[in-house]
């Protein structure tokens, strides 16, 4: 095999919570520059995969490689330097910071030394870090919220702010946990535009957990399907849709008609 290594590779990863095996001998790769979706019914282990990749929880067995480098035992704080950043299923912005300050938290890994920490970024209106954060907000169409207290902002704006914050770390791999959940159609379109802009250059690979299959179909070019912590299918969205095992999980039975417009039923 030649060429650069995949941006993310999980090698026989296992994670147990007590007696429950959340992730069971899972291996998959995410191709560099792809927009990969990680789908599966509730409880399939999608968010656990994110937590294992970002180091929020340790793996019990197996290895995680980013860009060919083994990061299995790298502390979570240092993984951002390997080009990893994520957003959260439930918005986790800092409620006591303004929108622009939240975005500036994302810059920390590039300006977190003693000199960087003591730069008066909130005092000089036109320093490069503040300008960079403002430019990112402008690109996302969120500049008018820069000085606002985040907890008062609409949910859809908060969701996009989280994505913008993650991009400020200049990640190679951006992990988005249900970015479209709870958004109305206008907000979802705004989010799609934002994500299209982020991965348009091909420098950023997306790994997205999402329930909205319409959203996945519109955004992603590769899909990994999990069920009970195991990979059951992998391929392009069309291939995965045609896979009988996937149809069985989502619809309870194998069907032949196209399921393009199917929104996934959330199993109990």
């Amino acid at each position: 095999m030649s060429g650069p290594p995949p941006i993310l590779r999980l090698e026989r990863v296992t994670k147990r919570f007590g007696g429950m095996t959340a992730i069971d001998d899972l291996s998959f790769t995410v191709r560099r520059g792809s927009r990969t979706a990680l789908i599966g019914p509730n409880g399939a282990g999608k968010t656990t995969v994110f937590n294992l990749v970002t180091g929020a929880i340790p793996v019990d067995a197996g290895q995680v490689f980013v860009d060919g480098r083994d990061i299995t035992h790298v502390p979570s704080r240092k993984r951002v330097r390997y080009g990893l950043a994520r957003s959260f299923q439930n918005v986790r912005l800092m409620p006591h910071l303004t929108a622009i300050e939240n975005v500036m938290v994302g810059q920390h890994c590039h300006n977190g030394g003693l000199f960087g920490v003591l730069q008066p970024v909130n005092l000089w209106p036109r320093n490069r870090w503040r300008e960079a954060a403002r430019a990112a907000l402008r690109e996302a169409g969120l500049e008018q919220y820069a000085g606002a207290t985040v907890k008062n902002l609409p949910y859809g704006v908060q969701k996009r702010l989280e994505v913008v914050r993650a991009t400020m770390a200049k990640p190679q791999l951006l992990l988005l946990d249900e970015p479209a959940a709870g958004l109305n159609s206008a907000e979802t379109e705004a989010l799609q535009a934002l994500l299209g802009g982020i991965c348009g250059s091909g420098d950023v690979t997306l790994l997205v957990v999402e329930h909205d299959m319409h959203f996945v179909g519109a955004l992603c070019d590769a899909v990994v399907v999990l069920d009970f912590g195991r990979k059951i299918a992998e391929g392009t969205p069309a291939e995965v849709r045609a896979d009988p095992r996937v149809q069985e999980i989502y619809l309870g039975t194998t069907i032949t008609e196209p399921v393009e417009r199917c929104h996934v039923a959330r199993s109990a």
């Binding site: 303004t98 970024v121 008018q144 008062n152």
Partner: protein, 288 residues
């Protein structure tokens, strides 16, 4: 200026300094109930230096702050491993240890207290207090301010964004103790007599109260809190002993009505109608 007024203003300035000593760890999400202990370290070490070596009080007080910070740094590494109520108890224990040690330290008078020869007046103390306020305000206009607030709000996410959360917590705790030590030195050199009993848990709680009631989210909160709760008991002086009841009632009412403190960052931004950069932002915000 009457002696009474100067006395009140000195107390106000010292309390403002103490309040910022408590504010820094609180801003990083930690309750330091051992603050009086660090104030005592500052008070005793600065008093010893100016008594025994005739060092200028200004330098002695600064050194007292550094001494308190040095002890805080040593203590912070194990103590800040704890969280929440356990952290409060651990810092409380540190304060008690300092107090007990000073009570038994004959070189600084032990239980009899320690007279301080050098004397500083209001202008010096006010200059120190102003310096502390400006220092903390500037510090919170840097990335440090953003980072500390981020650690306070969501340690987990801050960590994933690459922030060394523990280093920021230790830094906030240590800097706060330096400031508390300076406050102790100021107190010692104005009131000319210090005793270990003064630096008790009651003092720690009162100082933390200034911050919690003034507002923990903005650098102006401690200033307001210390000012209101130093001056309020004086204004209530006419009602004899009832003033303590009235003061306590005021504290409880405030906690019930404004649990977030008198001042919040959001409120200040709203009042100014601008973001911190000085440009209008909220006015253009569409109704959500």
């Amino acid at each position: 200026m009457s002696g009474y007024l100067e006395g009140i203003l000195v107390l106000l300035a010292v309390n403002v300094v103490f309040a910022y000593g408590a504010f820094l760890p609180v801003a990083a999400g930690q309750l330091n109930l051992g603050l009086a202990g660090f104030a005592a370290i500052g008070a005793y070490s600065s008093a010893y230096l100016s008594n025994a070596y005739a060092i200028d009080p200004t330098f002695a007080i600064l050194f007292g702050g550094i001494a308190a910070g040095a002890i805080a740094l040593i203590v912070a590494v194990p103590v800040l491993r704890t969280r929440g109520i356990y952290l409060a108890l651990a810092t409380f224990a540190v304060g008690q240890i300092v107090q007990a040690t000073l009570l038994n330290l004959e070189v600084v008078g032990g239980a009899a207290g320690y007279p301080v020869t050098a004397f500083i007046r209001l202008p010096t103390i006010a200059a120190f207090a102003t310096g502390v306020v400006v220092f903390v305000a500037l510090l919170f206009a840097t990335r440090f301010g953003i980072a500390v607030t981020a650690v306070h709000d969501d340690e987990r996410v801050a960590d994933l964004m690459g922030l060394n959360t523990r280093a920021f917590q230790i830094a906030a705790f240590t800097l706060g103790s330096v400031i508390a030590g300076i406050g102790g030195g100021l107190y010692a050199h104005h009131f000319s007599f210090i005793e270990a009993q003064y630096f008790n848990i009651g003092l720690s709680i009162t100082i933390v109260l200034y911050v919690l009631l003034g507002g923990t989210q903005t650098v102006l909160g401690p200033l307001l809190g210390a000012a209101v709760f130093t001056l309020l008991p004086e204004l209530l002086r006419g009602s004899a002993n009832w003033r303590y009841v009235l003061f306590a009632a005021a504290v409880i009412i405030l906690m019930a009505l404004r649990p977030q403190g008198l001042l919040t960052g959001e409120q200040i931004r709203r009042l100014l109608g601008v973001d911190r950069q000085g440009r209008s932002a909220l006015s253009r915000e569409p109704a959500a």
